[in-house]
Amino acid sequence: MNTVVADPNVFQPATDKGTLHMSEPGKSKLSARKVNVHYADKQALFDVDLEIPANKVTSFIGPSGCGKSTFLRCINRMNDTIPICRVEGGIELDGTDIHDPSIDVVELRARIGMVFQKPNPFPKAIYENVAYGPKIHGMTRSKAELDELVHGALRKAGLWNEVKDRLQEPGTGLSGGQQQRLCIARAIATKPEVLLMDEPCSALDPIATAIIEELIDELRTNYTIVIVTHSMQQAARVSQRTAFFHLGNLIEEGMTEDIFSNPREKRTEDYISGRIG
């Protein structure tokens, strides 16, 4: 990508972050090849191969400790921050390996946003929470531009109407569901192409969960979404593709309705029918 020679007659891949996510539908946004992860001596993932299509919601399901969150954190290299964690194999984002020296990890995390299990807004004003990412990446030139970006992100996260009159109040004062939507707004403020969600609804009540699920469905037109969930109903409701992990192995992946209605593997069937996990 970095070695493309500029030629006005040849189509150039857009380098503006705002348009990059308009990649061809149906093509893989992310592809993982033989990903192995070790925590010190313990191996957490074994040879995971997975294609994640653009502008679709892919859910990772599986019992606790199966490696689905570990794999999710490989995608934006969050595992780099854990000293004992070792990641092997390749993960490509739009055909470029994310461990390639030309990829800056800080840049990568702006392109691949993340929403965590527990809502974790910064203990700052709502506005500052959303503005932080664009600020550190220097994405705007003026206060007005930043305002627009922040307001837009809050609108996309479906939080605007609830917070527009109190942008300077602390984000930690919101309810759990609002906090999680604030975290989503914070993640999409850096205009990412991919949104990773690590059990985003596990700390929320059913009503807040429903709002977030609706939001995920809306967001998928603009973003490639990967969601880890413990709730199979949620996976079935929000995702187009599902991957089932068990004991560090990717057992099966495919269209969500196929996985749930007629799984190929015995272990998948056992899990979705409640016999393991």
């Binding site: 800080v106 995390r109 974790n120 910064f122 990412g133 930690t172």
Partner: protein, 448 residues
Amino acid sequence: MTDATATAPTAPRTRAERDALTRKRYAAERRFRLYGMVAIGIAITALVVLLASVLGRGLPAFTQTVIRAEIFLDPEALDPAGTRDPAEIRKVLTFAYSPLITASLTSVADELAAGGAPEITPALLAGMVSEAATSQLRDYVIANPDRIGETVEFEFLTSGRIDQYVKGNITRESSEGDIRLDPAQLNAADELMALGVMERKFNWSFITGPDASENRPESAGLGVALIGSAYMMLIVLALSIPIGVATSIYLEEFAPKNWLTDVIEVNISNLAAVPSIVFGILGLTFFINFMHLPMSAPIVGGLVLTLMTLPTIIISTRAALKSVPPSIKEAALGVGASKMQAVFHHVLPLAMPGILTGSILGLAQALGETAPLLLIGMVAFVRDFPGPLPEGLFEPATALPVQIYNFTQRADPAFVERASGAIIVLLLFLLVMNTIAIILRQRFERSW
């Protein structure tokens, strides 16, 4: 003792058995509360006893008995050159002042004799005035050279014994056989107090004045010690907080976790437990014998106290950094902040209250530290004030806790009161520092 499953239940417990268990549980809780209240009671009693004894003994140190007298500042004796130049006046030693004081006291005695108190002779009065009176008057003249030639009203310090008698610390019975105290002086003191010639006044020179020798406790003050302590605190503040906080941030957030950092970590904890006198020996061998910094100087004291305070600050800062929820750092990294940005924008501000509290408590500990300072010569008798910064850092000074130690080493009972008075000053400073710590903590504290 509260474990209900200690005996494996073979049959379900009966209702009565369960009630008995519940009662035992509540009884255990009540007992525990009682222990807690007893412990707090003991602590509060100890504190009250300590404060009462220190305040009871120390508060009188802030007042001093003086004899008021008019004195003629004879230009012939005090400024023979006639220039009124302080440098010239300094050349006149205290000997020249004695006759003036004698003359002044004689006129007081004459007045008293005329007023019906003939038993108070000039000699008796001279014995009641402090030995420091001449230097007291000389300091006044040097500070106010234009007063030479005038008759001024002056307040002479009384001797330590008379002062202690007026304050009630010694009585006629307890002073029997005291060669430094004539019972006639005590009678005279009572009379002079009644007449208003003698009175107790607030004693600024206890706070601002320099130390004084064994024979003149009435003029001993904490000035040099306060300046010495202040200079040392400046050094500790300027060195230990930046070094300590930077070390902690590096070790906690950036350093690779390997055997070397483990060794460093263990050694920092060990250093916190090293007796402070060992840091004094280090200061003596390294800063004084090897680097040839001056003895008794605040610079050496400050460096030694910095070394001593560093482990405390590092440990409390690391604890504060650790207590910040990792989710906040992850959130920052997740939106693409660099490690440094995540730490400085999010972790550090949240750890600030803890860091400040730890640092101020470390400083307070340094302020009260005595042992290492004894070894680097700050126990010396210093009467000259160290100069202004930065040269003053290299001039001899003492420190507040060392001054307290010095006062308690002296025989005169007046120093007992001064030691307690100095403790009150030290406690006040510690109180102020702790209050600042609390205020800062509340200011920076944010919930998440």
